[in-house]
């Protein structure tokens, strides 16, 4: 029987990163993966394929619309779309990434066991391969990194053809005429954007009376306005109670969240994107007595340890935002803890990005958080319309917003709605890790002409001394 220092169950971004870090630190490490490929949701059916489609559809839309003003004419009519080729491009991107993970695991001498992992007792993992062969592995420590699964709506069956989750929405064989998106979170808005750009009429139904719950409200409102201008239709404070699949066209019953008269929305495809739930099925957690909370997340202490000896958990399967980079950081931290070092994750500074156009990136507190906590704060805002680079790139939608403590000027939150916000938020994250004041950002020389000058100006605006406004 093979014996290890550490077995990681699940090779998504949390799991594989944890295994690599553990191996770097000299632990004899193995991973267990149920899927045919490594990389988990993120690489196979999440972050990476969606970004490939977002990139491709953005180019398509750009070729359709924005050339003329720059003196670029483009023949007669619109560019043509070969969806099968576009999806192939996406699949190649996924393939390149998952092969990369295989290579990294091998390079770090991490053993890979293919099959479904089950913890039979602390220190024992049983792996059942697809052909039914069972292998038993011994280990000193176990990290559960099994991730999450699509949340479902009661009474609505996801067939991944007409009623799809994000997985199916990444592989539609034709552009739906009408797409109904249920849930105005990150996934719904990103994939909604992809299909809108490729020609779908998109309606988004959201239970709350706002989009992207959890994001700063002022930012969310502006974001919604921009998306609406692009043609996305929103029905807020509404819920989908049923979808009639009997006809050729789907008929969704939508009623006010508080209850009331239902209306029917027709669609060719419905995307259910109401969130994700922790995935612990078949892990045998009952047998070893690992505790779950009321949302079925594994309960851990500050060092990622569950209540069962030698069993740890990280990523989507525990509390906190379901983000690949949060899982990765937890993976590194837990590997270091198991190796006897001091691993740590700062949950106050975890950036969050929505890859629509414009992008929405934020880190730290929102205005709502600060009001709820009774913290006095100052706001600095700067619009991209006043930024030279944004003007020449014709991407002036959005703004940067910096929230700083009224007494100490410490930066408490940064929210960027604008082009390339995902890359720009790294500056804010580093600043907040250093406990920077808005003045620290304001006094750092920012290159001209770049979009990042808007971050500096927003920091200046905290003390009401922006230059370009």
């Amino acid at each position: 029987m093979a014996s290890y220092d550490l077995i990681v169950i699940g090779t998504g971004p949390g799991g594989y990163v944890c295994a690599i870090r553990a191996a770097q630190l000299g632990l004899k490490t193995a991973v267990v993966e149920k899927r045919a490929t490594h990389g988990g949701t993120c690489l196979n059916v999440g972050c990476i394929p969606s970004k490939a489609l977002l990139h491709a559809s953005e180019l398509y839309e750009e070729a359709s619309h924005s050339f003329a003003r720059m003196g670029i004419g483009i023949g007669i009519g619109k560019p043509k779309l070969d969806l099968a080729a576009m999806l192939k491009f996406k699949d190649e991107g996924v393939d390149g990434n998952v092969k990369g993970v295989d290579f990294l695991l091998k390079k770090n001498k991490v053993d890979s066991h293919r099959g479904t992992g089950r913890i039979t007792a602390p220190g024992h993992v049983e792996v059942t391969a697809e052909d039914g062969i069972v292998t038993t592995l011994d280990t000193k420590a176990i990290v559960i990194a099994t991730g999450s699964d699509v949340a479902r709506l009661r009474g609505i069956d996801i067939d991944e053809k007409r009623i799809v989750s994000s997985t199916g929405a990444l592989a539609l064989d034709k552009v739906p005429g009408k797409l109904l998106v249920v849930g105005a979170g990150v996934i719904g808005l990103e994939l909604g954007s992809v299909w809108r750009r490729l020609g779908s009429q998109v309606t988004v139904v959201e239970f709350f009376d706002r989009i992207v719950p959890g994001i700063d409200l002022d930012v969310a409102k502006n974001f919604q306005r921009i998306l609406a201008k692009q043609g996305m239709v929103f029905k807020l404070a509404s819920k989908v109670t049923a979808i009639d699949t009997s006809g050729k066209i789907l008929k969704a019953s939508v009623e006010p969240a508080a209850g009331g008269t239902a209306e029917t929305i027709e669609a060719d495809v419905a995307l259910i994107a109401i969130g994700r739930v922790p995935y612990t099925d078949g892990l045998g957690l009952d047998a070893v007595g690992v505790k779950l909370d009321d949302k079925r997340r594994i309960v851990t202490d500050a060092h990622f340890a569950t209540n069962a000896p030698g069993i740890y958990a990280i990523g989507d399967v525990i509390a906190g935002p379901m983000l690949a980079h949060k899982a990765e950081d937890e993976g590194v931290a837990v590997a270091e803890i198991i190796a006897g070092k001091a691993g740590h994750v700062n949950y106050d500074v975890i950036p969050n990005v929505v890859y629509t156009y414009p992008e929405l990136a934020s880190v730290g507190r929102t205005e709502e958080d600060l009001k709820a906590a009774g913290t006095a704060y100052n706001v600095g805002k700067f619009p991209f319309t006043a930024n030279g680079r944004a003007k020449v790139n014709m991407t002036t939608d959005g703004f940067v917003k910096v929230l700083a403590d009224a007494k100490t000027d410490r930066v408490l939150g940064v929210h960027i709605l604008g082009p390339d916000a995902g890359n720009m938020i790294a500056e804010a994250a580093v600043a907040m890790e250093f406990g920077a004041s808005s003045e620290d950002i304001a006094r750092t020389c920012h290159a001209h002409p770049t979009l990042t000058e808007a971050v500096k100006e927003a920091a200046l605006a905290v003390e009401k001394r922006a230059i370009h406004m």
Partner: protein, 464 residues
Amino acid sequence: MKEITCRLLVIGAGPGGYVCAVRAGQLGIDTVIVEAGRPGGACLNVGCIPSKALIHAADEYTRAVHLSAGKSRLGITAAKPSLELAKTMAWKDGIVGRLTNGVVALLKKAQVKYVQGRARFLDGKTVEVDTEMGRQVIRAEVIVIATGSTPVELADLPFGGRVISSTEALALKEVPKKLVVVGAGYIGLELGTAFAKLGASVTIVEALSRILPLYDAELVRPVEKRLDTLGVRIITGARVKGLAKADAVAITSTDGKSSTLAADKILVTVGRKPMTDGFGLDAIDLDMDGRAIRVDDKCRTSMRGIYAIGDVTGEPMLAHRASAQGVMVAELVAGEKRAFDRVAIPGVCFTDPEIVSVGLSPEAAKAAGIDVKTGIFPLSANGRAMTLEREDGFVRVVARADNHLVVGIQAVGANLSEMSAAFALALEMGARLEDIAATVHAHPTQSEGFMEAAQRALGAAIHI
């Protein structure tokens, strides 16, 4: 005309001057600014902004060409694009117009008086300006010289006719069939790349042995590769002798061989020099530092009450350095304690891919006697780069070997100019490798490359 007296007079309304004046106005200082040309200076009118507009249009055109050639792996095909450069230029001029009007509005809002005309020093406290309405004398307690820089001319190849500077290149109405660029610094390469993408056959001639001599070879390699793909011909170690015929340039290579290059336009980009002529500088006889005005760490010149900021004070000639100096001088005049001690002034080269450099390169650090550790992370191992179809380039972090203090960060890659702020901030905050490595970077973004480079320097990179 009635004399104007004021507390602060700024000569030149480029990114150094107008930012200085706006900040001074915010601080309640009675301020006047004089500009001979259009507000915004070289940067807004004939530099950073119009060049980035042209580069952006050229990138879009290349994409359209790529789509029409059926080469796109994305499943998009389009009809063959056409280009009307005059329209592109009109679009660019529209943006420039909006920005320069914006500068006027900002000055007005800050209650700065704007005087149009050429200024000339009479003495250290007095300037006369030739305005449309006649001679205007302005007396000021403090004067800031922010006159910027102008393109350097080659004695053997004076500007005029086919021989153009960046200013004329940004106003061409047609794409030249054959473009020879003399000087492979960032301006020559940015514009040369843009015109190559718009369809010109471009040859770049450089006197030194390699292109972008300011950057190390490792950083430049991805740019060279892309230039090669775009069909740009590069001739290094060659000197330009002059015009051969009306439509060709004569060059001599290092081994003494002479040849000619046919050219519809010859773009000379051999550098910029401080603008110290035409405003009566000899009347006040300031100490110079070569061609530049000598200043101390507070931008004070050798004469009390006269400051100089930006390009006129020499290298690095960057708009954002000028702006930072301008803000500092305004605050000094307001009585605040300030000194210019920036750890990091980011330098960005908007080539394809873009180059960003902040702080010391590995060679510069070694030359300074610092024992360094470097970490390089290639974008080919970055998921976002793959989905953007741009895996060329890398991020490199340079840190002291003993205490891991980051002393420099360089990167080359598509769109990495927007990472420059994160790099500069890290240096300004005195980051150690561990600080960068332990900051959560959003997935999937190119910025993960920054974190991984720091991790790699620590021997703990995950994705390589």
